[in-house]
Symmetry: C2
Amino acid sequence: MAETKIPKATAKRLPIYYRYLNILHDSDKNRVSSTELSEAVKVDSATIRRDFSYFGALGKRGYGYDVDSLLKFFKKILNQDKLTNAALIGVGNLGNALLNFNFHQNSNVRISAAFDVRPDLANTVQSGVPIYPMAELRKQLEDQQIKIVILTVPESVAQNVTDDAVAGGVQGILNFTPLRISVPSNVRVQNVDLTNELQTLIYFLDHYNEED
Amino acid sequence: MAETKIPKATAKRLPIYYRYLNILHDSDKNRVSSTELSEAVKVDSATIRRDFSYFGALGKRGYGYDVDSLLKFFKKILNQDKLTNAALIGVGNLGNALLNFNFHQNSNVRISAAFDVRPDLANTVQSGVPIYPMAELRKQLEDQQIKIVILTVPESVAQNVTDDAVAGGVQGILNFTPLRISVPSNVRVQNVDLTNELQTLIYFLDHYNEED
DNA sequence: GCCGATTTGTGAAATAATTTTCAATAATAA
DNA sequence: TTATTATTGAAAATTATTTCACAAATCGGC
């Protein structure tokens, strides 16, 4: 089901490339070199060429890459040619911000359902997204065939909620809680830990003066 | 200024360890093995031992690690024994959520100043944090000696604001915009790109069925 | 004090990711 | 047409990170 396993490091860069290709496209550029891309996305040009080459020969020597065909290619690869529905669990502080954030503007991901324990939120609509009571989590995920959830619940309930979501058939979790949740091996977790990021930043500042 | 250069990959895991050590400490455990830690933080135990070993022999063979002394050690390393002030630039959707988020609960980072272009926000206090007009950015950063900023402005102004912040002496930037900002080599940028994370997750789901 | 069970710390091996280098090719200028 | 310049793709070299596997140290019970 894949183009012979792309390195993880490469996979993580694909959305970055995709995004910049869109910008080029919108400004009517029709060719781009790895050097030029490198400037914009802050990735070494050799790394970019290497990344691209995993997918075959996408460019032309002496010319560069054709923006439109590269864009079309990555759109396909990243599944951005169809809409992906995601659910948001936990409409608190951060959850609310993400509801407003509207991923849809930049990508073909849409939060199509949200869940919260608070009774006053259940069965309302926030930022155009229907909020369901937590008790319906599993059922709604199943019914709506949602494969991706964004987890913005308090840490204390994160594992329970995760188990429910997994039971509902979820395959990918964007985990905003600091808890390292446990999931079966066929479920993928992407952690976004804000406190962590800040602490790492501070560590680097204190211990890696100048450069990397 | 460092303990002979810790690998970057290790540095990124330090806050994860630190966090779990706090949990152990709070539940009055006084020893922990790399295997036990491994379960909780989802990092291979050999990797944990290797990570720790960069700082010297922190454990005891046949025993494990002493929670309190390890905690004390990491607290020092991560600068969590002093309060670090940060500024938040852009009090919009996400910015507001982060103001409420209160990093201080889990770490010794505090947002002590925020900035926004909107005149009705300037000179108010939101979630206990004073909001300054954008024009004062450089001056306030200098006066308050703030070295870390959280960037939650629209992409279109991200580079300009960054340049201002750098002029104000900032050394670390937690960048929530999708733009890969340009900074001098002595300034460190940590990118948190939510759309990216979601797209990467989708890519993994579609192309890496079962396991990594 | 001795013995068996644990568990670290670390060389060495394996794996992953980046960077260098350069031949091949395309575009452009002369 | 031909020479010059730009640029990719890929092999090789390098660097970074993880994992294996085991000797050495420590603990706890007897």
